[in-house]
């Protein structure tokens, strides 16, 4: 099918992949050169270095995936909605952040503004369109796809089809040296953000009354309603929170993934892989799922490029078939 905007997205993603493989190739050639240089000393140091850098990249990518996956997981846990517009929230987050940066020049301001804006969009979508459908998974899924298409067109109209990058402040673009390894500070920042968000969410979920009501709704919505929990309010809150987290991921990921049409449907299945491997409705599961997918993606692309996506999605299908609630899902 000929789709102008998808075509552009594809062209962009092609560029992205060649950039990916380029960096991997350069890494490999670098590793080989190092190996030649230090033949006397043996290649073990280089090998460990290669593995360490790949692991670090995988973990930092996993940190980004956690932001996207945790929201999706919570939404599914509470509402049993398969939200196919989650990738759109990710993309919209990046775009709104760009607008804020263009007008105010402040990257720090862009993060909360983008996240809150997209959270509001999610809130309206849940209240006005999803809620009236009641519990009908298929129609809900289809509705979220319809919105994904609408968001795609809106993004194309407002921000054109050109690919953009979000440039973080110069202080974050440096590299630091840890144990002889050059690590980009930005990736460490990403891990930090994910840790902060994860901890905050965990504290809220485990230690507050609100968290307890959310957990109760995940476990058994009907019983929760029975004991007087306003599950409709909880659903609204969680949907907005999910959109918030996805948009946050979009802003932060925008610095190294870019922001371009088509990113929404590229991110969506990866987010689902995170949620499914980890288990739906579980925060810890989302964290572990994100880590597994982040590492699998990095090592897959570096070691087995021809089957790299297969190695990501095949385990996902197997886990679903054997244990539909995911590795760490709540029963």
């Amino acid at each position: 099918m000929t789709l102008p905007c998808r075509e552009r997205g594809r062209a962009r993603s092609r560029a992205k992949i060649s950039r990916d493989t380029l960096s991997i190739q350069s890494l490999l050639t670098w590793a080989k050169l190092q190996a030649k240089a230090s033949r006397g000393k043996g290649t073990e140091a280089v090998d460990t270095r290669f593995w360490l850098i790949q692991a670090f990249n995988g973990i930092s990518y996993g940190a980004l995936l956690f932001l996207v996956g945790s929201g999706l997981s919570l939404i599914f846990g509470v509402m049993r909605i398969v939200n196919l517009s989650h990738g759109s929230y990710f993309l919209l987050g990046g775009y709104v952040a760009l607008s804020v940066i263009w007008t105010t020049g402040s990257w720090l301001l862009a993060i909360p503004v983008a996240a809150v804006t997209v959270a509001l969009i999610g809130l309206v979508m849940e209240r006005v369109f999803l809620r009236p459908l009641g519990f009908d998974p298929l129609r809900q899924v289809l509705l979220t796809v319809g919105f994904a298409f609408l968001f795609q067109q809106a993004a194309l109209d407002i921000w054109t089809g050109n690919p953009f990058d979000i440039n973080p402040p110069a202080a974050l673009t440096q590299t630091i040296v840890v144990g002889g390894l050059h690590l980009p500070l930005y990736r460490i920042f990403m891990i930090g953000v994910a840790l902060f968000i994860g901890l905050t969410l965990w504290l809220v979920m485990e230690k507050t009354r609100l968290g307890a009501t959310i957990r109760a709704t995940v476990d058994d919505a009907e019983m929760a309603r029975g004991v007087g929990i306003d599950t409709s309010y909880i659903s609204m809150l969680i949907f907005a929170l999910g959109a918030f987290l996805a948009a946050l991921g979009g802003v932060i990921g925008g610095a190294f993934l870019g922001v371009y049409p088509g990113l929404d449907f590229e991110m969506l299945p990866i987010a689902f892989a995170v949620v499914i491997i980890g288990g739906m409705g579980s925060l810890g599961g989302a964290a572990i799922g994100a880590l597994i997918v982040g590492l699998a993606d990095n090592f897959g692309k570096a070691l087995l490029p021809e089957v790299s996506y297969f190695t990501l999605y095949a385990p996902m299908a197997l886990i679903l078939a054997v244990k539909p609630t995911g590795l760490f899902g709540r029963e």
Binding site: P4, F147, Q153, Y309, P324
Partner: protein, 333 residues
Amino acid sequence: MSMARDRVKILIVIVVLAAVALVVPHATSFIILLATRALAFSILVMSLDLLLGFTGLASLGQAAYLGVGAYLTAILAARYQVGLGYDFWLVVALGMFGAAALAALFGLLATRATGVYFLMITLALGQCVWGLAYRWNSLTGGDNGINLQHRPKFGIDLANPVTFFYVVFGFFAVSLLVLYTIMRSPFGRSLVGIREREPRMKILGYNTWLHKYLAFIIAGAFGGLSGVLWAHTAGIVSPENVVLTTSVDALLMAVLGGAGTLVGGVIGAGVVLFIREYLSTLVHWWQYVLGGVYVLVILYLPGGLMSIPERIRQWRTAPTKSVAGENLAATPH
């Protein structure tokens, strides 16, 4: 009563299809191409309807079977010059068989799940196929895909758009007939029983898993057929054909036309392709129309476009408040 109404419906479908077959070849070449695409793709939509409308399983990975048929056709034609003469029929059989074999494998995993989990497991399986198509450069040509230089020629020349339209139309009509026959058979009736209430069917002694598994394989086979035709229609096979959005498209087309009606699929495919390929040449905001149509149909017309006559009849005969279709399905755990 319902038999008579069924006969009327069948008659209407036959008349409309005959009209399409007669009128389209006289239209512009663009319309002929559009109709050919819609017919080829609607075989995939109908195969999905077998799962969605009749068995109650919403699949988000149906494009995988189209992919198997299409890649098989493209690889055989581009690398080995197979399938460009009378052996086209061999490729058709191979495409259907290959897709059915993949469905038999995937079905072992997918048919264990129901509801939302079925949706997600088929998504994962579909992404497996996409991943291979996208990255396995030596086999699939990666992101660039595979170009098909020639259409088959055997007595008739499929390079002629009108001839090709009739061939695709023929395949579509036969698929519709076969799927309709399957749905009317005792097997099809049991599928509907499974959709309505699986535990009861189990108690009655039906092997519901085997029914679902067979439906999954049959759907796969027709998906493969759609792929073979799609490869020659489009002239190029790329990961775009197996990506998640193509599966989503098929699902939306089925619902748009009307799930459980088979012919609704071709209406859905026609409407979507018309908006996407024709309207997009006229206005730049065509995607709002597409998204808007989806959202409105899902919100206000759950039975799809095919349910409009029924709706009108209800509205005219009984202005009383009808019992709203409250969904009492239990939360899956």
